[in-house]
């Protein structure tokens, strides 16, 4: 890493120092600190297998999603007037989501993500957060600004992504 990048990261980390007030002593024991959050944000591939474990920590999750929001991501807010308990299609100005049941297996669904505009960000993960619960899936390579993920109905991710009160981040 260049000195320039180090300085840049330090200043960014300083911006988020106030978040550190939220870390209790016990949480510090679990090796989370603001630098760690920043590192996870900066290196999503490095922490790909651990990210869901990290997100179980509320403070980490709050800090992480705050950084995501501030530093750039594409985002869908909660649905204000959802008519169903579960939503299988939602859209924002930035991307659309459709969830289609597989004919092969009733427990399997296709999550289809369609990015609407060209974006400069490298999109590697899709995060869902709802009522302090969050989950993350790795995005496959976008093909014609579209990606498709197979998800299981029985998984927590399915419950979150179909929940109208979920917020969705792609970064």
């Amino acid at each position: 890493m260049d000195n320039k990048d180090k300085i840049s990261d330090t200043f960014l980390a300083l911006n988020y120092l106030n978040l550190s007030k939220n870390y209790s002593a016990s949480e510090l024991k679990s090796k989370f600190n603001i630098n760690m959050v920043w590192d996870v944000y900066s290196n999503p591939f490095k922490y790909q297998n651990q990210i869901n474990h990290f997100l179980k920590n509320k403070v980490f999750s709050d800090a992480y999603f705050l950084i995501l929001k501030n530093e750039g991501c594409i985002y869908q807010a909660k649905l204000n007037a959802a008519s169903n308990e579960r939503v299988f299609s939602r859209s924002s100005n930035e991307f659309k989501i459709k969830i289609v049941k597989s004919n092969k297996d009733e427990d399997v669904y296709y999550l289809i993500i369609k990015i609407i505009n060209d974006i400069d960000l490298q999109l590697s993960n899709l995060y869902v957060i709802c009522d302090n619960k969050s989950d993350c899936v790795k995005l496959p390579i976008l093909n014609d600004k579209q990606a498709q993920i197979l998800i299981k109905k029985s998984d927590n991710f399915f419950n979150l992504i179909t929940n109208p009160n979920s917020e969705i981040f792609i970064r």
């Binding site: 004919n103 092969k104 296709y110 197979l150 998800i151």
Partner: protein
Amino acid sequence: MKKYTVIIPTTNNVVGINDIVEEDPLVSSVICENNNLEALPISPFYNSFVKSPTGIIEKLVGHSSFRIDITKPIHNGKSWQLAIAIAHIFFKNNILNFSNEKQLLTKKTEEIIWASGTINSNLEIKKINYLDQKIYNSMNFLENCIKNKVQINIVLSIQNKNDFNSLLSNNAFLKDAVKIKLIKVLFFKNLYDLFDHLNLKNILKKQTKRLSFFQKSKKTLSSLSIIFVTVLFAIVFNNVWQKTSPLLNLNDNKNYSLLLTTLKTYRYGNLTERVVAYFYDYIQTLQSNEINKQMRINFIPYNDLESNKLKCIQGSQPINHVCNLNLEVSNIGVDTVFLWVLKFSNFNLEEKAFQKTNKKSDIVNGMIKSNEAFLIDIKNSHEPITLFIVYSKEFDIKIIDWLKRVDREKSLLETTIKRIKAFGYGYTINSIKNVKLIENKS
């Protein structure tokens, strides 16, 4: 009907097909391994291979989205295309036997298709690389098939024939198996030939050009528009004919006054009548021009007095007033032409108000055969005269009556000209002015 098990040889594995499921058209087609949730990396290529217009599977089986499960992963390359295409067509026609995760051959397996090749949009089977590796990796499987009395069909592009033959020479097992027809090796140019060979012609028919609904509609529309235009043309033609035939009858019967009246009515009538009048006039003008073209007029001055002879040499312009004039009218055309020549004084028209009596007019009538001339002596007069000559290919007695009245009034001259034009007769009008020429001698 006999069912086939389709095998996809790769450089690493021998791959069977577990399952094929038609999915919602919104879904991109995916290839997964043994019912796993993770799509294999070749899925986007498989999707392109399926979905029209780039893909061929949708065109062949009529559905645009599938999930296909295979027994072992395929990471890259495109040689799976031939086997997958065959599998889709067999699946559509319910003659595909699926493999198990652990067993490529099942109890139901009677015959296998071991296929490797790429396919283009014309269903042509193209050459693949690493054939030797694929065969080598499949040796155990092929031996197992023979042991289980399963007929083996190796399907390759005709472009791989030489590669395979060179492999045979180095592989005794393969050579013997091919020799005793335990393994059939089939080389094809395209997918149609393969299905033809397997007596499954009905499954994959060569697509004759079927017309789409739009094309059909387009064809119907063009037929209808031709009919419409024809009917419209017939109606217009009928209308025009209804208006034209009376004119032609009147012309044939030489009912001139009624013809002229009808023409006049047409010229101020509705669109059809105006069009008919226009065309009638146009044709008559052409006829009139044709007669005019075949007539030549020549004025020949002369004087019998020796002293004036030199003053009246032909070709000098202007002609001296002491000269007499001969009018020579020649017919250079093929047909015989009748002519009527009216000579009248200009005073009759222009100075009517000052003249109490008309100057006498002369009318000469004659016939000129082809390549003959007609000579008229125009008596010398001391006033300007006009020569009005009418030509016709038929003799028309009424022309004399019309000419008799011409010199009475200028409007009658104009009416006669219109009349003559209307009947397609030719005419010329020449004015001979008797003037004094003052030359400047200084």
